[in-house]
């Protein structure tokens, strides 16, 4: 028997993973959630037909979205994670002792339950006593926060689905307001490779660029993402991701990683020419 999970990365490109079996399928108020077991990627979670993460490659983006800002900001005490109901981001944050609170805003309770059951290694991050989970819409949670956070991590990945509200001008504006005067926001920036993703990627940069004084993009290689290539956004009120990057301080922490290194930190901001041009294009179209 052959059992394949397929995801359309564009109308003309299909990525397939051979599955051992399907472990779960359910429909929440927000999304259809499926969990599969595969030989190559281990267990992986699918939302509305798109792979969200797999056991094999989740470490890459969880590390990249957490350690990059944490190696720049000198003193992070309060963190807001939007999305992130799987717990992977919280797990990476739990390495840092100076953090006092980690607020995880995940509207979909079912998503958290499914992750707890099928991805206990990620979900254990949610058991850190500093974590509080809010089952709330991200925009709603942000509206009432003023100058409270040192770091906001937007872990939502889909600019068109049920998390569309987390890729809008109002979202970046509300994040700006919720951050302290030296706060940093990092976010999933999508994949820039295919033509149809290009515009969304550019629009995202344009919106953040117009809200934050410092706005840079960095990259990682993530096999289950479209074209295996993924971008993150680094938006900040004060700290520059390279000029304020303190490699020595971070090394002293002696955190065990599989992807992130201080060398890679710098390298991740060195973008291919076509991505650089894409981003510069967005910056020029100031209104």
């Amino acid at each position: 028997m052959e059992f394949w999970f397929s995801e359309m990365h564009t109308d003309n490109v299909k990525a397939s993973i051979r599955c051992e079996k399907q472990l779960y399928s359910g429909q929440s108020d927000f999304q259809r959630i499926d969990v599969f077991d595969s030989a190559e990627f281990g267990r992986f979670l699918v939302s509305n037909g798109s792979v969200i993460f797999s056991e094999k490659d989740e470490f890459i983006y969880d590390e990249m979205i957490v350690h990059v800002p944490m190696a720049v900001h000198p003193d992070v005490k309060h963190v807001l994670v939007i999305g992130g109901g799987d717990g992977g981001v919280a797990r990476e944050l739990s390495h840092y002792e100076e953090i006092r609170t980690i607020d995880v805003v995940e509207p979909d309770e079912m998503f958290v339950e499914v992750c707890r059951e099928y991805f206990p290694d990620n979900a254990k991050g949610l058991d850190d006593p500093r974590v509080t989970i809010y089952n709330q819409d991200g925009l709603r949670a942000l509206r009432t926060r003023h100058g409270e956070y040192d770091l906001i991590i937007n872990d939502a990945t889909d600019p068109f689905g049920h998390t569309a509200g987390l890729f809008t001008k109002e979202f970046y504006g509300l994040c700006y307001k919720a951050l302290k005067d030296d706060g940093i926001m990092v976010y999933q920036h999508g994949s820039p490779f295919y033509d149809e993703d290009e515009a969304a990627c550019q629009a995202m940069h344009q919106k953040a660029f117009r809200v934050f004084p410092i706005c840079r993009v960095y990259q990682a290689h993530i096999p289950t993402c479209p074209a295996g290539y993924w971008l993150f956004g680094f938006a900040s009120k004060k700290y520059h991701p390279l000029r304020d990057f303190d490699a020595k301080r971070w090394k002293k922490r002696d955190i065990k990683t599989w992807y992130y290194t201080p060398n890679l930190h710098t390298g991740a901001f060195m973008l291919p020419k076509y991505v650089e041009e894409l981003m510069e294009g967005a910056e020029d179209r100031k209104k």
Binding site: R143, T144, H162, A164, G165, E170, G173, L174
Partner: protein, 485 residues
């Protein structure tokens, strides 16, 4: 609410007839010439085969809107039953055509119609057509937010006393902003003086299907009501209903409708009315309870931001605001130093959010059966961000949405009179022969036959400066007005 026959409401006669026709694979040697789309492949790509396949002409199995005897008649009867009316006409020229048919049915040239001045332009257009004389009742203006309220009973009493020969009373219920008048009392008063009551219920389709919402025109005993099915009812744009009570001669109203209605009514529109009526009858109560909940949530979240005022039933004063349609999300914006139209433009240009309209001091976001909570969060989030980025001092801002007009000629006389075109600045004191309005909402600032005052000119200049989309005049830039010689 009258109880309808729930089992019968599960039928959709026009839709069923179209399905039968599709299965019969009839060869068309009639119009439309695109022949189920075969002659216009680009149109099929745009609209889809299903859609062009039912763009057909009236024929025996599909009945004829001008003189319905079979499936359209059945569908109209089901609609009448669902809305608690004696008869329902399917309208394909928008609610404008329903409003005009009401007026043309009730008044003849020279007869008087009592009408609030803050009506949709379609009402005054009907007066231009038929030559009836408007007796305007000036609406109360809400002191804080500046919007026109409903019809006050004492004002109607006075108008009736001064014009005992009027033949009908026209009521906007609810207004665009959600304000409702005391319909039952208005109907009693008008009927006691032998006058018919015509209700523009364009924004009140949902009242018929949720008992927690204000009273409907049919239930209040009004004689006719124009109901925009395409607004809260979910049917296609341009489709509408004209409802009659048993006090009105159905055959005469049909003759009036047929004076101006197309003889090639679209089956897309007709079937959308049929299906939407079924949906409302079967699921409307539940859907609109949800809409009420969404609007209530949005209101409380918007009021939480501060600066904005999303108003609701607290405006009720027992007379000119007798009830409030809580599904309407109207927000007063002047406190943050922005005109409604400025917030409207910011929402679209900066936040990719399109709302229904913005006027001088308010915005209206249309909440309906198609809304999702996540989109409400976007709207509220964007309003919070607009306040953060764009709020300013509000001194010097106009607050009035309504200026009481001085009427000196009937709309028909003024419209057809000898006129000349003058620059705006030279028109003060002259009689206007055309409309000036912001669209939406489409309520005239000036109508034919009214004196142009400094107040009105200031309003026009202010609305233009703030970016309102203005129309109605012969001069597309509204730099000139046509005035009576």
């Amino acid at each position: 609410m009258k109880s309808m026959d729930f089992e019968k409401q599960k039928r959709a006669p026009v839709y069923e007839a179209l399905e039968r026709l599709r299965r019969q694979r009839v060869v068309p040697f009639d119009v439309p010439g695109h022949k189920r789309g075969r002659g216009n492949p680009e149109l099929v790509r745009l609209l889809g085969e299903q859609c062009v396949g039912i763009d057909v002409n009236s024929m025996k199995p599909l009945d004829n809107l001008c003189h319905p005897v079979s499936v359209i008649l059945e569908a109209e009867n089901l609609a009448a039953d669902a809305f608690g009316a004696a008869h329902a006409f399917f309208m394909v020229g928008g609610t404008t055509s329903a409003v005009q048919s009401m007026i043309l049915s009730a008044c003849k040239a020279g007869q008087k119609l009592i009408v609030p001045r803050n009506v949709h332009k379609s009402v005054i257009n009907a007066l231009v057509l038929c030559g009836a004389v408007p007796v305007y009742v000036n609406p109360d203006v809400e002191p804080r937010i500046g919007i026109a309220l409903g019809m006050e009973l004492s004002q109607l009493e006075q108008a009736i006393r001064e014009n005992p020969d009027a033949v009908a009373v026209f009521v906007n219920n609810p207004t665009y902003y959600g304000i409702c008048s005391d319909l039952r009392a208005i109907v009693q008063l008008a009927h006691a003086h032998g006058m018919k009551v015509l209700v523009d219920e364009a924004h009140g389709t949902h009242f018929y299907f949720q008992e927690k919402l204000p009273v409907t025109a049919m239930e209040a005993g009004a004689d006719m009501a124009a109901v925009s099915m395409h607004k809260s009812g979910g049917s296609l744009t341009q489709s509408s209903l004209l409802l009659l009570n048993s006090t009105v001669n159905e055959g005469y109203v049909r003759q009036i409708i047929n004076l101006t209605q197309t003889t090639s009514a679209s089956y897309l529109l007709i079937s959308s009315l049929d299906i939407s009526r079924r949906n409302l009858a079967l699921r409307g109560s539940e859907s609109f309870a949800k809409v009420m909940g969404i609007a209530e949530y949005a209101r409380s979240e918007i009021n939480e931001i501060g600066g904005y005022y999303a108003y609701s039933s607290e405006l009720c004063n027992g007379t000119s605001c007798f009830a409030f349609d809580v599904t309407k999300l109207s927000v007063y914006t002047r406190e943050i130093g922005l005109a409604g139209i400025e917030v409207y433009d910011l929402l679209r240009d900066e936040y990719d959010i399109q709302i229904e309209f913005g006027d001088i001091g308010n915005i209206l976001a249309y909440i309906s059966i198609g809304d999702r909570m996540q989109d409400i969060e976007r709207l509220v989030g964007a309003l919070a961000d607009i306040k953060r980025l764009y709020a300013k001092d509000n001194t010097g801002m106009l607050s009035l949405e309504y200026i009481a007009p001085k009427v000196v000629a009937t709309p028909q006389e003024a419209f057809y009179a000898d006129k000349e075109m003058l620059p705006l600045s030279q028109t003060a004191g002259r009689i206007c022969s055309e409309f000036v309005m912001c669209y939406p909402p489409g309520i005239p600032i000036l109508a034919p036959g009214e004196i142009i005052t400094e107040d009105v000119l200031q309003y026009i200049r202010y609305a233009k400066e703030k970016g309102c989309s203005m129309q109605g005049t012969e001069d597309p830039d509204i730099e000139h007005l046509n005035v009576l010689r």
